[in-house]
């Protein structure tokens, strides 16, 4: 992408990152990474530990400075005013232990440019929504880990940010609170907030994210809409569940046992498509099909495949598929 062509699109992007590089001595933490985050989308940042995700986030927030490259946030370079429009929940997060909940929230809200009155009203509102209205005067150290995490989340969204950057938002939460945070994120997305989410919980990404960026050893290895990424890794195979002898179906070259013991994965011979197999099965009385779907790998499988294998090759492969599309 050239600088000229990008100028018109910068305003459309909540984050625009061009060829950023960061070295720590001889260690290349981030190596010429490009990506954009569209306004109003949920964007997922993936990668193994030490891949460079947090370094990228810190560079976006100007906590670290890139050695090379350009970063634009909410339509321009990061200023104090822009910082006030960002909510950030880092992975390594904590709170003052001996400070009361409301006092802590007011302080963090003030640092985001809110007036004491506004931040108090908003904090009380959110504390009630998160079931913490009885704890406004409790010290942080008196709260359970889950409650502390909810306070951290409240602190992140207190100032109604336009851009939310959250690192592992669901770690340490029980299913009820996970759902609470998930609903909140959907609600914010519906209000037009851009959400960048870094997580290892792949099912959350599959479920929530519109697009993703996968980093490995400081380099971009996967980037694009979640559906397209998964599609690109789809094999010429289908998953079926039902009764019948799958090995005798025309066009099936191999049958693999499925994950739950009931399904089967039918590997198709060259020249045969899933549509062909579906038509054959529908026309035959000796097969009863309860489920039929494309064998699209989960993000977890893709993650293991990409991180365990050659990241650069995976990126090339995905890009080839997109180009062919």
């Amino acid at each position: 992408m050239t600088t000229n062509s990008s100028n018109s699109s910068i305003a459309d992007h909540a984050i625009f990152v061009q060829a950023i590089t960061k070295r720590f001595g001889d260690f290349m933490a981030v190596d010429h990474v490009n990506f954009e985050v569209n306004r109003g989308e949920i964007f997922s940042l993936l990668g193994p530990n030490g891949a460079g995700k947090t370094t990228i986030i810190r560079m976006i927030l100007d906590i670290l400075r890139p050695d090379d490259g350009q970063i634009q946030v909410l339509g321009g370079a990061l200023t104090d005013a822009t910082k006030d429009r960002i909510g950030y929940l880092p992975e390594e997060r904590g709170l003052y232990k001996n400070v009361k909940v409301l006092e802590m929230l007011i302080y963090l809200g003030q640092l985001k440019g809110m007036s004491t009155h506004d931040v108090r009203v908003r904090a009380l509102d959110l504390l009630e929504r998160f079931g913490l209205s009885d704890n406004t005067k409790s010290k942080i150290s008196q709260l359970s880990k889950g409650m502390q995490q909810k306070v951290q989340t409240i602190a992140t969204i207190l100032h109604k940010p336009d851009l939310l950057i959250i690192d592992e938002p669901f770690s340490g939460l029980d299913p009820v609170n996970t759902q609470l945070i998930q609903d909140l994120l959907y609600e914010m997305k519906a209000e037009g907030v851009t959400i960048v989410m870094s997580t290892h919980q792949m099912h959350q990404v599959e479920e929530m994210a519109d697009r993703l960026l996968m980093i490995n050893k400081g380099q971009r290895v996967l980037y694009g809409p979640v559906k397209e990424v998964r599609q690109a890794y789809a094999q010429n195979a289908v998953i079926v569940e039902g009764e019948g002898n799958w090995t005798t179906v025309p066009g099936v070259k191999e049958v693999l046992a499925g994950r739950n013991g009931q399904e089967a994965k039918l590997m198709l011979a060259p020249g045969f498509t899933p549509d062909d197999v579906m038509q054959i099965l529908a026309s035959r009385k000796d097969y009863a099909v309860r489920r039929f779907e494309l064998a699209v790998p989960s993000l977890n499988e893709i993650f293991i495949q990409v991180v365990g294998g050659n990241g650069s090759r995976a990126e090339a492969r995905f890009n080839d598929v997109r180009a062919a599309d």
């Binding site: 995700k53 810190r58 997060r93 963090l108």
Partner: protein, 418 residues
């Protein structure tokens, strides 16, 4: 730099630390405890100094021939004949043998010099001296015409002269105490205020690092704003503490007769007081910046305490070396300590109390102190930025040097926390 955000940080630091039990104790309870201790010590001293119980037998050796048989001596006083040769060993032997509890030797030229040597194995109390004063005074009055006694000898029978050792400048007793005590009080107040607030300064940063708060704060405020905010807030705290102490001290001093005497005797110039305040502020900022830098560089509170102890030790070097200051305040060690930034305020102020410090030395000391304070503030901001996100890792001087040399915004470490 966004000053509004620095002020939000300053307000919070002030409020939270003001309410902490540690500050409340140091600011309010500690001075009361000190005052209580001082009261009891004073009572004890008064009790002791007003008593002559330990001196039942007091001998006098009248080399001047001024003691008259007609003048009544205090109870227990008697004349002692001392051989002309080996007089002092003889007197010491008399004391050891218990012949007398104290022996006053009146100099042959007493009427001119007022010199009286006192020998005793016990501490000579003020009451004993006053008894002897009165006894000599009565004798002088009885034969004033014959002896042609100078008037001042009648007024002050025993002339005690205090002289500073280097200039031989004659000073009154009250002024001497005032000039010596005020710097001592200054050093004491400075040391307590700095060490208290430094603990908060460093403890706060270490807490924010230990509790993983730094990154959340860093997404809202710049490291310099955080640093300046903390400095402002905790400086305010220190000055609150000092203001309370000064006010309490002033009220006590001005409502008691001894206090008024003390301040009238303390011949401090306005310039000296201004100099003290400037030195105090500069040294406070310097020490605080060092403490903030250490807080950002270390990983745990225990490490920060060790470092704080070391810094505190350097700051009190002039007090530890007070003997050198008293014997020769313009000697090489006091002068060197006056130029070293971390010791210079205390050293200069101690010397001002004891001698007249050359103006050029004060000027050089100030220039070095201002330059160091600015330099240390800059370095503290760099360390703060480098160290604040190094959770669980110590920012060693080697890493800091590497980062400074390579002009990096982040230290050279193998893997950052991910």
């Amino acid at each position: 730099m966004n000053l509004a955000k620095a002020l939000i940080v300053a307000r919070r630091e002030y409020r939270v630390n003001f309410r902490s039990p540690g500050f409340l104790f140091m600011a309010f309870a500690f001075p009361l405890i000190i005052l209580g201790i001082m009261f009891f010590i004073t009572q004890f001293i008064i009790e002791r100094e007003t008593s002559t119980d330990d001196f039942q037998k007091v001998a006098y050796v009248d080399n001047a021939g001024i003691i008259q048989s007609g003048v009544e001596a205090p109870e227990g006083y008697f004349a002692l004949d001392v051989p002309e040769v080996e007089a002092v060993p003889y007197i010491e032997q008399q004391l050891r043998d218990g012949v007398a509890d104290a022996i006053f030797v009146i100099d042959a030229n007493y009427t001119l010099t007022g010199q009286v040597d006192v020998y005793s194995q016990k501490n000579v109390t003020v009451a004993l001296k006053e008894d002897m004063d009165r006894f000599l005074s009565d004798n002088l009055v009885a034969q004033a015409d014959d002896l042609q006694v100078p008037v001042e000898r009648l007024v002050e029978p025993i002339d005690m002269v205090f002289r500073t050792l280097d200039t031989d400048e004659r000073q009154s007793e009250a002024a001497l105490i005032g000039r010596f005590l005020l710097p001592t009080i200054f050093v004491f107040v400075f040391f307590i205020a700095t060490s208290t607030t430094s603990q908060f300064m460093m403890g706060g940063v270490v807490e924010e690092k230990e509790n993983r708060l730094m990154e959340i704060l860093a997404s809202s405020v710049r490291p310099l704003e955080l640093l300046v905010g903390k400095l402002l807030g905790l400086s305010g705290l220190a000055f609150t503490q000092i203001a309370f102490w000064t006010l309490t001290g002033a009220v006590i001093a001005l409502t008691t007769e001894q206090g008024r005497d003390f301040f009238s005797g303390a011949e401090f110039q306005t310039g000296d007081v201004l100099l003290m305040i400037v030195l105090f502020v500069l040294d406070f900022v310097l020490t605080s910046a060092i403490m903030l830098g250490i807080g950002a560089a270390v990983t745990a509170e225990a490490e920060s305490r060790q470092a704080a102890g070391f810094i505190g030790l350097i700051a009190v070097l002039p007090i530890a070396a007070n003997a050198l200051f008293f014997t020769n305040p313009n000697g090489p060690i006091p002068v060197i300590l006056s130029f070293f930034p971390m010791t210079s305020p205390v050293a200069i102020i101690m010397r001002i109390g004891l001698t007249s410090v050359p103006t050029w030395q004060i000027a050089v000391s100030m220039v070095i102190l201002i330059a160091s304070t600015v330099g240390v503030l800059w370095l503290a901001a760099v360390v703060f930025r480098l160290g604040m996100l190094m959770y669980g890792k110590v920012l060693t001087p080697k890493l800091l040097w590497q980062a400074l040399r390579e002009n990096q915004s982040t230290p050279v470490i193998e893997v950052l926390p991910e």
